[in-house]
């Protein structure tokens, strides 16, 4: 086997009081099957924990799934923390259930992509690849 280079690394996280992780596990699985390294940090994390983990793991993508309605609180906080860590090259992707009008607002503050609940698995894989390619080498 040859050494695979430039494997995309993704950290998948659940933040806050949201105990539903079937969705993120499916996302993790389909990214794995697309040849990516997927780090899963489990339920009930804080934004601080997730960003510290993303920095140590040097991921390309930080994917946060929120089904609790707290997205307008959590994502600005995460963006802020990424700036504090000088880690803005880590691309933030939101997933889960949220109103359409919030999607635009989230992208405005720096969320790279928002993938809602009806996104097919292949579209998730494609979005991740497209974002990483657009960012370029770092």
């Amino acid at each position: 086997m040859t050494v695979p280079s430039n494997v995309i690394r993704v950290l998948i996280a659940k933040v806050g009081l949201d105990g539903h992780d079937r969705g993120v596990k499916i996302v993790a699985r389909c990214l794995r099957d697309a040849g990516m390294d997927v780090i899963y940090t489990g339920l009930h994390r804080t934004p601080e924990e997730v960003v510290a983990a993303a920095v140590q793991e040097d991921v390309d993508i930080l994917g946060i799934s929120i089904l609790s309605g707290a997205h307008m609180t959590v994502f600005p906080k995460v963006i802020d923390l990424l700036k504090q860590h000088e880690a803005e090259d880590i691309l933030l992707v939101g997933g889960g259930v949220m109103p359409d009008e919030d999607v635009g607002a989230l992208k405005e503050i720096g969320v790279a992509e928002v993938l809602l609940q009806d996104t097919p698995p292949q579209a998730i894989v494609d979005a991740v690849r497209r974002l990483v390619e657009a960012r370029g080498p770092r």
Partner: protein, 322 residues
């Protein structure tokens, strides 16, 4: 978006222990980027201070959970601690699910702790391909204790012996009989045995079997500077963790005092050099000799050449290169 920083510019922040720089360079080594080699050369000269401890055991034996508690315990003494947690890559897609951090979330916010998950990416011995280099980066970055958690092993994934100074083998109760304990392989490499989940009723049997296996060893080999302990831990009840840390520290002192540390460093150096040479050759065959390799495969399949002769020809072709 900031432009890509050169690896040489990352050396200074790595030596200052900056997580971002250490993390970045680990990724570049993992990706096999030639650009980072001069930086690694500088980093390597600054290594040698850390105590590297390998933690191995079957999948589900409680390695991650125990490590979480071991790090918390060791942090009481202000040491900087790093964990490298290895999980398998898929043999089919090459992807992986790295889930060891789930059990270590308490540690994420401690600036004295650095955790990195690594996928095996085709390596077979229980470690990731770039594990050694990751250890170098953390060692040079001022981490005093570096814990390597191997993939969940079966019986024979023992590369960790040639990567760490101290080996902890974790056995969980209820898996197999006493014959398992005298089999060759993983059970032989322990400097410290741990039986995890000792809140379970069947743990005593496992402890007893391990201890009697070691008695056989003493009878055959006689006295040595280090007596392999068998420790009982329970992560659920937070028991036995202090004893495990004490044993790890005691083993380090014994290695230093007996002079065996030098021997272990030599084994690690030898393995790394030979393994790297093997990888370089392997990559050259794969990348530069595609045509040669496939024509030789044909001749082996048609029984014109046997595999050994074909291999000799492959190496001869390599030698004739400029």
């Amino acid at each position: 978006m900031p432009a890509a920083v050169s690896s040489l510019d990352l050396v200074e922040p790595v030596l200052a222990g900056k997580p971002r720089a250490i993390a970045r360079l680990i990724s570049r080594v993992e990706a096999g980027e030639a650009e980072c080699r001069p930086a690694l050369e500088q980093i390597y000269r600054r290594t040698g201070g850390a105590h590297v401890v390998g933690v191995t055991g079957v999948a589900g034996s409680g390695k991650s959970t125990l490590l979480d508690q071991l790090v918390l315990e060791a942090r009481k003494s202000e040491r900087k601690i790093a964990v490298i947690a290895v999980d398998p890559s898929s043999p089919f897609s090459g992807g992986s699910i790295l889930g060891d951090r789930i059990r270590m979330n308490e540690l994420s916010l401690d600036p004295g702790v650095f955790i990195r998950s690594m996928a095996t990416r085709g390596a077979m011995g229980g470690l990731a391909r770039a594990t050694h280099e990751a250890v170098d980066l953390l060692d040079a970055g001022g981490f005093d204790l570096i814990l390597i958690e191997t993939v969940g092993v079966g019986q024979d994934e023992i590369d960790i012996v040639r990567a760490a100074h101290t080996i902890v083998v974790i056995s969980a109760p209820g898996l197999g009989d006493d014959i398992q304990t005298i089999k060759a392989g993983v059970m032989e490499i322990a400097d410290i045995h741990v039986v995890s989940k000792c809140d379970r009723p069947d743990a005593n049997k496992t402890l007893k079997e391990l201890k009697s296996m070691l008695t056989l060893g003493f009878a055959l080999r006689g006295e040595s500077a280090w007596q392999i302990p068998v420790l009982a831990t329970s992560s659920a009840k937070r028991e036995g963790i202090g004893e495990l840390l004490a044993a790890i520290d005691r083993h380090r002192r014994t290695l230093d005092d007996s002079g065996e540390m030098e021997g272990r460093r030599r084994v690690i150096a030898r393995t790394r050099m030979l393994k790297t040479a093997e990888n370089i050759l392997h990559d050259r065959f794969e990348k530069q000799h595609d045509g040669k390799v496939s024509s030789l495969i044909e001749r082996v399949v048609t029984r014109e050449l046997n595999p050994h002769t074909a291999a000799t020809e492959l190496i001869a072709a390599l030698k004739s290169e400029p």
